[in-house]
Symmetry: C2
Subunit: 197 residues, 2 copies
C-alpha cells in the first residue's frame, strides 16, 4: 500500500514515517509555495532517513490567506492550521492509498479532528492516519533520542521545511521584516540529520 | 525501554504491539478477575505473535461495580470503560517505563481522553501511548489483513480475553444467564492465531 506523509524534515514527521514504515510504502511529501527552496532541506532529511521524497507545490493564494489571518490574529496558529488543511487536501488528491501527518497528542496546531479525518477519507477515498496522535511529548522525545540524529535550535537558524519558513518569507515580502516578529514568537525547531547507527 | 500493553488477544491490541515493537521491549498484559481462565487464550495469541505475556489479576470488586453499572444502564459501554480505567491504573503500577492499549480512532469504548492520559502519566511517572488512536477503521482492517492471521465470529464462539467474557460470567453468576442478553447485543469478535507468513 502506498502512503504519502506530509513531511517537514523535523523529528515528529520523521518519527511518524518510522512508525508506519512496517505497513506501507512511504513517500515523504513536502508541501511548499514556490517562494523559497527550503523544501530542499526536507529532501535531504528524507534521503538521510532513507525514504522516498516528493515536493508538492500549493497555490500561493493559500499562503496569502494564511498570512492575512496571522496578521489579523497577531499569532500564527490559525494560519498554520489553514495551510495544513490545504496541504492534506492536496496530498489526498495524489494517487496514494493512504495519507498521514506527524500530528502529536499535545500539539495545539495543526490538529485534525475525528470528523475532519472522516470527511477527508470519504471525499478522497483514502485512509488518513495520524500515527503520533496517541503519543505524548515525553514518549516522542524518548523515542526520538533513541532513533534519530537531530539538531535543535531557534527557528531562524535550523534548516527545515515546515510551512513556517515560507510563511515568514511571504509575510516579510508583503508587510516587511517587522511583521514576522509581530506574528511569530521565538521557539526551537528540530532538523533530522538521519537515523542513529 | 519496557512497555506493558493491555492485551485481549484480538486484532486491535495485537496490531498496537506491532506498531510499537520497533521502539520498545513489549510485554502483553491481560487483565482478568480470576473468574474464568479465558486469559489463557490471550497468552496463546501472544505466543503466536511472538510477544512476552503477563496476566494481571484485578480486584473482583471492579467487575462487580462494572456489572452493576451495566445492569442499570441496560448496555455495557460505561461498565467496560470502568474496567479499562482500572486496568490502566493497575498496569501503570507495574514496573514499566511506558504503558499502552489498543484504542482506535473510531472506538466508542473504551476511550482515554487527552486529560486522562496526562493524569495517568503524571500520577504514575510512565508514558501512556494509544498507538492506534490515529488509525481509522479501514486502515486498521487493511493492515490487519496484510499482517495477521485472524479468526472472526460471534462473541460467544470466539476464544478471547477481553473484559467482556469475564463480565458476562460475573453477570450470569449474580443475575442469571438471562441478564447477559439484557446487557450485551450480539456482535463479532476477533482472535489472532498469529502473524501471516
Amino acid at each position: 500500500m502506498q502512503l504519502g506523509l506530509l513531511y517537514s524534515g523535523g523529528k515528529d514527521s520523521t518519527l511518524a514515517a518510522l512508525v508506519l514504515e512496517r505497513f506501507y510504502d512511504i513517500t515523504l511529501v513536502t508541501a511548499h509555495f514556490g517562494v523559497t527552496d527550503e523544501y530542499e532541506h526536507a529532501r535531504q532529511a528524507a534521503d538521510a532517513a532513507g525514504f522516498e521524497f516528493r515536493a508538492l507545490e500549493l497555490d500561493r493564494e493559500v499562503a496569502e490567506e494564511a498570512v492575512e489571518r496571522m496578521r489579523e490574529d497577531g499569532y500564527p496558529r490559525n494560519g498554520i492550521q489553514h495551510v495544513h488543511e490545504a496541504a492534506l487536501e492536496a496530498v489526498a488528491d495524489l494517487d496514494f492509498d493512504a495519507i498521514a501527518d506527524g500530528t502529536r497528542r499535545d500539539d495545539r496546531v495543526p490538529t485534525v479532528s475525528r470528523a475532519q479525518a472522516q470527511s477527508l477519507e470519504d471525499r478522497h477515498g483514502v485512509d488518513y492516519l495520524s500515527p503520533l496522535v496517541g503519543f505524548g511529548r515525553n514518549a516522542v522525545d524518548r523515542i526520538v533520542d533513541a532513533e534519530l540524529d537531530v539538531e535543535v535550535g531557534p527557528s531562524e537558524e535550523i534548516p527545515r521545511a515546515d510551512y513556517e519558513a515560507e510563511l515568514r518569507a511571504v509575510l516579510a515580502e508583503e508587510h516587511g521584516e517587522g511583521a514576522i516578529r509581530e506574528v511569530f514568537p521565538d521557539h526551537d525547531q528540530t532538523y533530522v540529520h538521519g537515523l542513529r547507527e
